[in-house]
């Protein structure tokens, strides 16, 4: 909090940007952490301010970027760094999939239910939490044992001959004419 206070200038701007801009940035970061089910309001507030502080430090040097943009980038960076540290992976040139793995690990380790206080906290973390984050793996199916079913020969008998008729051009048209003729004959027989 002190860090943010130090960035306030006499005109009421924060890190050179109007307060409204930072308010929008706050909302953006808060929404995302909320989406990660960080429900504890104190914790949520702290995490958002931590992100904003990092964004504010960058703000004077990057006047072309909006406060929201800076905050979003810092949030992303912070989360990736934390996932890399917890999962013991490199955050340099981190694969996009690191965040996916991290989010999945948060879910499987039940961060929203049991470990909210550990989220984005610098290490060391409780062993149980680290174990749960590193070891969980979502398996949608067992190991494959691939094979290939193939249809056996199937002789349809006399039907095969009949189905060959269906290849005759204009068969339907001819059949409908024959049916019409049969209908006329039937009516004649029935009425005489």
């Amino acid at each position: 909090m002190n860090g943010i206070g130090a960035l306030t200038d006499p005109s009421g701007h924060l890190a050179g940007r109007p307060l409204e801009e930072w308010n929008a940035a706050y909302e953006k970061v808060e929404n995302y952490f909320h989406a990660l089910r960080v429900r504890n309001k104190v914790l949520l507030g702290q995490l958002v301010l931590r992100v904003l502080e990092r964004a504010m430090r960058r703000a004077p040097a990057e006047p072309n970027h909006s406060a929201t943009q800076l905050a979003a980038e810092e949030m992303d960076r912070l989360v990736i760094e934390w996932f890399a540290a917890v999962l013991q992976e490199s955050s340099v040139n981190a694969d996009q999939m690191l965040t996916t793995r991290g989010r999945l690990a948060l879910l499987l380790a039940d961060m929203p239910g049991r470990w909210q206080d550990q989220f984005l906290r610098p290490g060391p973390w409780p062993e149980e939490f680290v174990g749960a984050m590193r070891e969980t793996y979502l398996r949608a199916g067992p190991d494959f044992q691939l094979s290939k079913m193939t249809p056996r020969p199937f002789d349809l008998g006399p039907i095969t001959t009949l189905t060959n008729f269906s290849r005759i051009p204009y068969l339907k048209m001819a059949l409908s004419w024959i049916l019409f003729a049969l209908l006329l004959i039937t009516i004649f027989i029935l009425t005489h």
Binding site: N31, M97, R139, M149, T163
Partner: protein, 705 residues
């Protein structure tokens, strides 16, 4: 089962049906002869013989079933050996739920009830569950993934309940099962197929495996599903009829089928190895609707197993196998429409070389179930034609002597006798079911007592009498349109919370109403005494709209239940698995958001929700481990710049600007889905399209609530 004994049973059963048909047909032919023979009477007689034979076969199933049940000598697979002591150690069984755009909550709650019931048997580790999705609706797909995770989390069933989504729905249900077998079939000695609405008791599942272990020559055992959970009046009537009459019919069916039984597509255990070896379905020659892919695969798969000398049995005395039934007449007809096309297609398979005669009988009666409608209509039209012609031709109505003078019947009495015999043949199985019930006090109580069950049978008979003409008209339409190579396409029914809506009923039934009024007026004008005999026929048609709406009502179903009508054993003493299912569905109903979902809400969730996105992407990545899927993904162009371009368009313009196939293509690309997630949360608000801004706003609001 010695072959000679089996053939004798088949011969005895169908000889009885044939003998009855022969005798009554003679009587009917004699009646026609008395008023003067004509070509149209020949047509009428032929139609009568066919229709009566079908009714006689049904009646024989009832009679044989009744005798077997009362004599206590049914020959069921469960009584051939003492299978209960059989060990199932070392066996592995997959319980599969092939689904396609189903009610996701219902599917998973059914699975949960089955899983929890199996857990109580202590044999859970011998079974794996698979949800095999062919859903083409992205919203359903995402919901399935999310609820799958929720379920495995709640049941601690990771590595026990699996989920697989196919990239296309090639081959429909049979293709879905084949895809499962190609990937994992060799891991399992048996697999049990469940429908989206199936629930099975754990003990029943274990019993089915024990039976398979005890009988190594058996390829498939069909557990007979009981209809349950109906709430509408129609559903409860169908459920009551199913529970009361099926015991007789299935015992009769088992009399002649024995080890040459049939497969109904679900609630059955299958030996994996022979199924994989022999039951991959061939494509039928010719063009649609008969050629191409076999739609009703179950009967054909059973026929292919029997062809290779594997046995198939009905385990009809095993309780704990359940399914649900349509809640309205229109939904019922929609289901019939699908089955009709599949069954008519069986006419191509009927004469295939090498099939067992019992298989041909199963296929033939499946076909006849739908052909009976147009044949009955033809019979009625021919009859009215003869009547009209007789009246307007000026010919006399004086009857000549019958060939059966010893009966000494007047023309009217003769006609009445034929009519009464027909009614007896149709009604006798119901009467026998009641007598069977009267002998069993415990079962009587399960149906709410004999008196209430009797009133229920009377009510069900009135209902089916009024429903039958509608079935006749629908089946005729389905058969005719199929024969002309067209399929009847119906839009999704707009259901009110309490059943079929009036506008939808008018849309579907106006033709029936018109036909009922016209035919009623025609017969009234033709002969007023004849009019009263035909009343049930055109009343069902003329009042089809209110009939359809009212029978779909839940409150009328509840009212009948309060009066103790149409009670079934599962209603009077609900089994634990159904209690659990209903409780969870109720919790869901009370806690879920009832507001209509935004279009593409599944896609929005898969992009925006960090966890749903992670699950979705993780499952997509796992898909690539299967070389078949990896190849399909490559063919689709996953990972190409074109998909990224589509994703950019999606972000800028929203999903409405993309075709359904384009949206699905984005959703199968793991990297693109991760990219979309990051972009949607990292990009400044103003660089996102209005659709996404609204989606994020809504998502954040929902998330808070």
């Amino acid at each position: 089962m010695p072959h000679i004994r089996h053939s004798w049973r088949l011969f005895t059963f169908y000889s009885c049906a044939l003998a009855l048909t022969g005798l009554v047909s003679m009587l009917f032919a004699d009646l026609l002869w008395r008023t003067g023979w004509s070509a149209s009477r020949t047509v009428l007689l032929v139609l009568f013989v066919i229709l009566f034979f079908l009714a006689a076969v049904g009646c024989m199933h009832g009679i044989f079933g009744f005798v077997l049940r009362r004599s206590g000598a049914p020959q069921c697979i469960t009584q051939l050996t003492d299978y209960r002591a059989q060990s199932i150690a070392g066996t592995s069984t997959a319980i599969i739920f092939p689904i396609h755009n189903e009610d996701v909550v219902r599917v998973y709650e059914g699975l949960r009830a089955t899983y929890e019931s199996l857990e109580k048997t202590g044999q859970l580790e011998r079974f794996d569950f698979f949800v095999l999705s062919d859903s083409t609706d992205p919203d359903k797909w995402v919901e399935e993934e999310q609820r799958w995770y929720d379920l495995i989390h709640e049941l601690d069933a990771l590595g026990r309940i699996y989920y697989r989504h196919r990239l296309n729905d090639e081959g429909r249900k049979s293709g879905n099962v084949r895809d499962f077998l190609n990937a994992w079939g060799r891991r399992y000695r048996y697999f049990i197929v469940c429908d989206a609405d199936s629930v099975m008791r754990g003990e029943t599942l274990v019993d089915l495996v024990k039976l398979m272990e005890a009988h190594p020559t058996v390829g498939l055992i069909q557990a007979v599903p009981a209809l349950v959970n109906a709430e509408s009046l129609l559903g409860r009537i169908q459920q009551f009829a199913n529970r009361l009459y099926t015991s007789l019919f299935i015992a009769g069916l088992n009399y002649w089928a024995l080890n040459l039984g049939n497969y109904w597509g679900h609630n059955a255990i299958i030996r994996t190895e022979p199924f994989m070896q022999y039951c991959d379905l061939p494509q039928l020659p010719g063009s649609k609707p008969f050629g191409g892919q076999i739609l009703s695969h179950d009967f054909v798969e059973a026929a292919l197993l029997l062809r290779e000398n594997w046995e198939i049995w009905f385990a009809y005395d095993l309780e704990g196998s359940y399914e649900e039934t349509p809640q309205g007449i229109i939904e019922n007809a929609q289901r019939d429409r699908r089955w009709c096309q599949g069954n008519l297609q069986h006419s191509l398979v009927l004469f295939a070389k090498g099939l067992r005669n019992a298989s041909r009988a199963h296929l033939l009666f499946g076909i006849c179930g739908y052909l009976a409608g147009p044949l009955w209509l033809a019979f009625l039209v021919t009859f009215l034609w003869i009547y009209w012609f007789q009246k307007h031709s000026g010919l006399s109505n004086i009857t000549v002597h019958a060939f059966t003078p010893y009966l000494n019947l007047s023309g009217t009495a003769h006609a009445l006798l034929v009519f009464i015999i027909c009614m007896v043949v149709l009604m006798l199985p119901k009467l026998l079911a009641m007598i069977d019930l009267a002998y069993d006090g415990k079962r009587q109580r399960a149906f709410g007592g004999l008196a209430r069950a009797t009133v229920g049978v009377i009510g069900e008979t009135i209902f089916s009498t009024l429903h039958a003409p509608l079935q006749m008209l629908w089946h005729t339409r389905f058969v005719v349109t199929n024969l002309f190579g067209r399929s009847v396409s119906w839009g999704q029914q707009k259901r009110a919370a309490d059943g079929t809506t009036w506008p939808f009923a008018i849309q579907r039934h106006w033709g029936h109403t018109l036909m009922g009024l016209v035919s009623g007026a025609f017969i009234w004008q033709l002969d007023r005494s004849l009019f009263w005999w035909f009343t049930p026929l055109f009343t069902g048609m003329a009042f089809s709209i209110p009939f359809s709406v009212l029978t779909s009502r839940r409150n009328l179903g509840a009212c009948a239940r309060k009066l103790g009508l149409f009670l079934t054993p599962e209603e009077t003493k609900p089994p634990l698995e159904l209690v659990s299912l209903r409780a969870h569905l109720k919790i869901h109903e009370l806690t879920s958001d009832t507001a209509p979902r935004r279009p593409h809400s599944g896609l929005a969730k898969a992009v925006l929700d960090p966890y749903v996105n992670a699950i979705h992407v993780s499952l997509l990545r796992e898909k690539k481990l299967n070389p078949i899927y990896a190849e399909q993904l490559n063919k689709l162009g996953v990972g190409s710049p074109a998909v990224r371009a589509l994703a950019e368009k999606l972000l800028a313009d929203g999903p409405n600007k993309l075709a359904a196939a384009e949206r699905l293509l984005i959703m199968v690309d793991a990297h693109t889905m991760v990219w979309l997630h990051r972009q949607s949360w990292l990009c400044p608000r103003e660089s996102l399209g209005p659709w996404w801004r609204a989606a994020i706003r809504e998502f954040s609001r929902q998330d808070e609530s």
